[in-house]
């Protein structure tokens, strides 16, 4: 896929239109049999959270075999390191060992931004999140998504300003989901 070209309009340099083809990202991860859980805003949105997001976050399992599969998927996705000063990201040699050497990766692909977090705040990683995870179809791809309870506890633990800002709507979403479940 070709990224939109740069152009200038009305005296400022416009940046490329971000891509939000998260289904394509998920499809490639599934095709490579990567074990992962969708976390963060996309997982929350799938469960009724009313706001939006610009990237997709996942928690992959960190065992060596899974990291090999993850590396292969990321190479196919042409993932690059996301940086504030380079829209197109920075090229990096992706392999399993490199992926396992950091707890988090913020990546840019031609299909949208992808963040990896092996141990999201307040959790113990993939096995911990898998317990409460549910299976949903996102953009035509069946994936495991983190429960709202786990998303909330992670944002509470992270305690950044942006996490604090999201918590009221997340908590209210959980309440309304439970109200509907108890009525059905």
């Amino acid at each position: 896929m070709r990224l939109p070209e740069r152009s200038s309009t009305r005296g400022f340099e416009a940046r490329p239109l971000p891509e939000f083809r998260f289904g394509d990202i998920l499809r490639v991860l599934k095709e490579h049999e990567v074990r992962f859980i969708v976390i963060g805003a996309i997982a929350a949105v799938a469960q009724g959270y009313p706001l939006t997001t610009q990237d997709i976050d996942i928690t992959p399992a960190r065992d060596p075999d899974n990291l090999e599969r993850l590396a292969a998927a990321l190479r196919e996705l042409r993932a690059r390191l996301r940086t504030p000063d380079k829209d197109e990201g920075v090229e990096l040699p992706i392999d399993a060992q490199m992926l396992g050497n950091a707890d988090m990766w913020t990546l840019r692909t031609p299909f949208g931004d992808l963040d990896l977090s092996y141990v999201p705040s307040g959790t113990q990683g993939y096995d911990d999140l898998r317990r409460g995870a549910r299976t949903e179809t996102i953009e035509g791809v069946e994936v495991a998504i983190s429960s709202l309870v786990d998303i909330i506890r992670s944002k509470e633990a992270a305690d950044r300003v942006k996490d604090q800002a999201q918590l009221p709507a997340l908590r209210r979403t959980l309440e309304l989901v439970r109200q509907r479940e108890s009525q059905s």
């Binding site: 179809t137 996102i138 709507a169």
Partner: protein, 104 residues
């Protein structure tokens, strides 16, 4: 989140069975099951004791009530999970254009 949800979540997070939690607090498995079913509600003090047995702390605070998101959440809940994500992505595309990221 009601007491039954809190209790079940704490127990599962601690990796305990109902019987193991009951043993830790000197209660029976059936007592734990009744609380988790919602048929019976533990007192606040008992709930705190149960949650501490899971090595977690129950925290309660007061905040202003805010239902301003309700109409948006209810609209989302009327959709399927896939439709919710597609709707959010469509809105994000619009917001990105408004923020000036789009190539005109």
């Amino acid at each position: 989140m009601g007491s039954r949800d809190l209790l079940r979540e704490a127990r599962l997070r601690a990796g305990l069975t109902q019987e193991e939690l009951g043993r830790a607090v000197g209660r029976t498995q059936s007592a734990i099951a009744r609380w988790e079913s919602g048929r019976v509600h533990p007192s606040l003090e008992t709930l705190r004791e149960l949650i501490r047995a899971c090595r977690l702390e129950l925290t309660i605070g007061l905040a202003n009530y805010d239902d301003s998101y309700d109409s948006f959440i209810n609209r989302a809940l009327d959709m399927s999970p896939s439709e919710r994500v597609a709707d959010a992505i469509a809105r994000e595309v619009v917001y990105s254009r408004i923020r000036g990221k789009a190539v005109a």
